[in-house]
Amino acid sequence: MNFPFIREAISNVFSKPSTRNFPAENVEAKPNYRGRITYDAEKCVNCGNCVKVCAPSAITRKYEDVEGGQRITYTFDLTSCTFCGTCQDFCDEGAIVLSPDYHMVAERASDLVVSGTRFAAKKGKLVNSDACVFCTLCAKVCPQEAITVDRKEKLWSVDYDKCVQCGKCIAKCPKKSLSFEEA
């Protein structure tokens, strides 16, 4: 007589169940889990990279003119999001972070929207000075492709309609040649 599974059967009687006692005990998501988006409006420079890279176009940007500048609102629609994390990767300022919070259950779709508003003071136009060496770094870093540089002809120009005044070109300029004109 041979009972091959009797040891296992007896040990199973005394072991804990494999079922997770979920609603009673909260389960944390694993590290780097991409859950609910958190958006820090104060860190945002309004470069618009996240809007550009979002595959399901879940991110929208809204401008509102107020005295002395404008209010910029970013809205992240979680019912539309793929949680790919590309917006987080492209955000140089670290304003967008996908938190490990996965409890995203709602009766209304409006509860699954994350948004943040920031007041942006009016800045002067972007101007270049004589220190410019036409290295094209500003054109490469511009998220809106507003700057065009011709190295041969030594021409530098900016499309003010496209410029969102994020200041990335100013930070990148090795000669500190760029600045916002004082209004």
């Binding site: 494999s18 079922t19 997770r20 979920f22 609603p23 389960v27 998501a29 889990y33 859950g35 595959a55 399901p56 176009s57 879940a58 629609d77 979680l78 019912t79 539309s80 999001c81 793929t82 949680f83 996965y102 409890h103 995203m104 259950v105 709602a106 009766e107 209304r108 779709a109 699954l112």
Partner: protein
């Protein structure tokens, strides 16, 4: 007396029916994972029903393709009242990355009222359990309102 008994027993066994309307299978797998011993939604009485006529909660996944739309609506009509419609993932809510496609008729909200939306792509099984539990609560309220 029987009504009371029926009400008491149905409250603790909300049966679910799952419709895939062109989903990538990610959400479907997570819903099935919820019924496995690891997460065990049957603790709360959830059970997969074989036909929509037996179901209380309808779980919809996928971005509702043109081919599946008619069938989806026909299936939803067969579910007896009171029913609860739950969407899993981003697709039935908005169309996700497929929105704007010629063959996707995404927001489910424009055809039927969605009671609970579970966000995520795909949601974690724990989130699915949470959503189903919420749906069962809503179902109970609907049934109460119907019986009065």
């Amino acid at each position: 007396m029987f009504k009371k008994m029926i009400a008491k027993s149905t409250a603790k066994s909300p049966w679910i029916y799952h419709i895939n309307t062109g989903s990538c299978n990610g959400c479907d797998i997570e819903l099935v994972a919820v019924l496995t011993p690891r997460y065990d939604a049957e603790r709360f009485g959830f059970k997969l029903a074989g036909t929509p006529r037996h179901a209380d909660i309808v779980v919809v996944s996928g971005p509702i393709t043109s081919q599946s739309k008619e069938r989806l609506l026909r299936t939803l009509e067969q579910v007896p009242e009171p029913k609860c419609v739950v969407t899993i993932g981003s697709c039935p809510q908005s169309g996700n990355v497929f929105k704007g496609s010629y063959s996707v008729e995404a927001p489910l909200e424009q055809y039927v009222h969605v009671d609970v939306a579970i966000a995520g792509c795909t949601p974690k099984p724990e989130a699915v359990i949470e959503g189903l539990y919420k749906a069962a609560e809503i179902l109970g309220k609907k049934r109460e309102a119907m019986n009065q």
